[in-house]
Amino acid sequence: MDYGYINARIRGMHSRLFDRKAYDALIIRQDIPSIITELEKTPYKKEIEEANILYSGITAIEYALRKNLVNTYRKILGLVQGELAEKYIVIFLNKWDVQNIKTILRGKKIHASQDEIKECLIPAGELDEATLNELLKQPDVRAVVDLLATWEQPYALPLTDYIDEYSENRDLVILEYALDKYYYQKALEAAKGKSTEEKIVRRLIRREIDANNIKSVIRIINDNVDWDDAKNLFLEGGLRIDEEKFEKMVESGNLENALKHLDGTPYYFLSYLPAEALAAGRISVFEKELDSYIISNNTGTFRLDPLSIGVIIGYIWAKYSEIINIRIIARCKHAGVSDEDLEAELIHV
C-alpha cells in the first residue's frame, strides 16, 4: 500500500497540533470566554463557532473538542478506507465504541438522563451518532444489550454471555470486563501476523493490556477483593504482565508490595511515585501516570519508519493527548486551579 500520500497528509495534520507555545497561550487566559476566543484562532475554529451557537461556557468547549476529535478520526478513516491499514486503524478507533457502550451502560445503571449520557459520548468509532442515540433511548442495561444483539453488533456477544450474571449481582464490572476482554482478543487476532504493521499494532495493544491489568490490580487491592473474584479480571495477552505476575501482585496485600513486582518492567516508575500517593492509595495518581506512559509511548510510533502505519497511529494518539490537555486546561480554569497545579496535570506536552 502507498503510505506516501496518506502519511504526508497525516504529517500535515500533525504539524497543526498544539505546540508548547499554543498551550501557553491557553494557560495564560484567565477565564472560559477568553479560552474560547483563543481557540477560535486555532484549527478548532469551525467546531468552536458551531458550539457557540448551541452552548455556552465550558459545555461549548467540551462539545467543540468532542466534535473535532470525531471529525479528525472520521477523516483518518476516510483516508485509509479500502487500504490494508484500515483494518489496523479500525482496531484503535473501536476503542471508542467500547468506551461509548460502557458509558451508556453506566448511565443506564444510575438512571442518568439521555442528555447527560450523550454529553459523555464520543462517536469516533464504528458506532455512529444515530446508532448511539438509539441505544440511549433504551430504558435499562438489559434493553441496551438486547438492542445491540438485535442489530447483530459484535459487542453484543460478550454482553449477552454475561448479562444473566450481571442481573444477579448488579455489578457492572462484569459487563465492562467482558467488553474489554472481547475487544482485546479481537484486536490481537486481527494483528497476529508477521508484517511490520501487525508487529507495531500488536505491541501497542499488548502494552495497553498490561496497563489495564495493572489498573485492575490497583483497584483490586484498594477494594480488598480476594483472588477468587480478582482472577476473573485478568486480561490475557499482555506484554510483561502474565497471569502469574498478576496473581503475585494481587496477593501482595498492599499497594507498595504489589508495585515492587513491576521492577524490571517498563512500568517500574509506578513504584517510585510519591509516598503519600501510595499511602493514601490514590488510584487516580497511578492511573494518570499509566495513561501518560501509554500516550507518550504510542505517540512515539509517529517517529518510526515514515512510510509505515506508525505515523497514523502516532497521530491518532497525539490528537487524543491534545484534546485531553485542552480539556484539562478548560476544566482547571473553570474550577479556579492555579497555573502551577494545572501544568502538573497536563500530559505529554
Binding site: D2, G4, Y5, I6, N7, A8, R9, R11, G12, S15
Partner: protein, 83 residues
C-alpha cells in the same frame, strides 16, 4: 591485411552495441526518474492537500529527479558521439 579486417570487425560491432548501450543508459535514468517522481508525487499531493502553501516547494522537489533522466540522456549521447 589483418589491420583492415580488425577495423572492419570493429565497425560491424559498433553497429549494434552503441545504440543498445545508449538505450540502456537512457532507459535506466528514465525508469529511475519515473519511480522517484511517482513516490514524490503521491507524498507531495498529500502535503499540498493539507498545506497548500507548500505547493512551490513540492513542485521543485518533484522536478529534482529529472536530473537522473538528463544524466542518462547525456551518457547516451556521449556513447553515440564519442565511442
Amino acid at each position: 591485411m589483418a589491420d583492415v579486417a580488425t577495423a572492419a570487425a570493429a565497425i560491424q560491432m559498433a553497429g549494434w552495441e552503441k545504440p543498445i548501450g545508449a538505450a540502456i543508459a537512457f532507459a535506466a535514468g528514465a525508469i529511475g526518474t519515473a519511480w522517484a517522481q511517482s513516490r514524490i508525487g503521491s507524498a507531495g499531493a498529500g502535503t499540498i492537500a493539507e498545506k497548500p502553501e507548500t505547493s512551490s516547494s513540492i513542485i521543485i522537489l518533484e522536478a529534482i529527479p529529472e536530473t537522473l533522466v538528463i544524466l542518462g540522456f547525456v551518457v547516451a549521447s556521449m556513447i553515440i558521439i564519442m565511442i
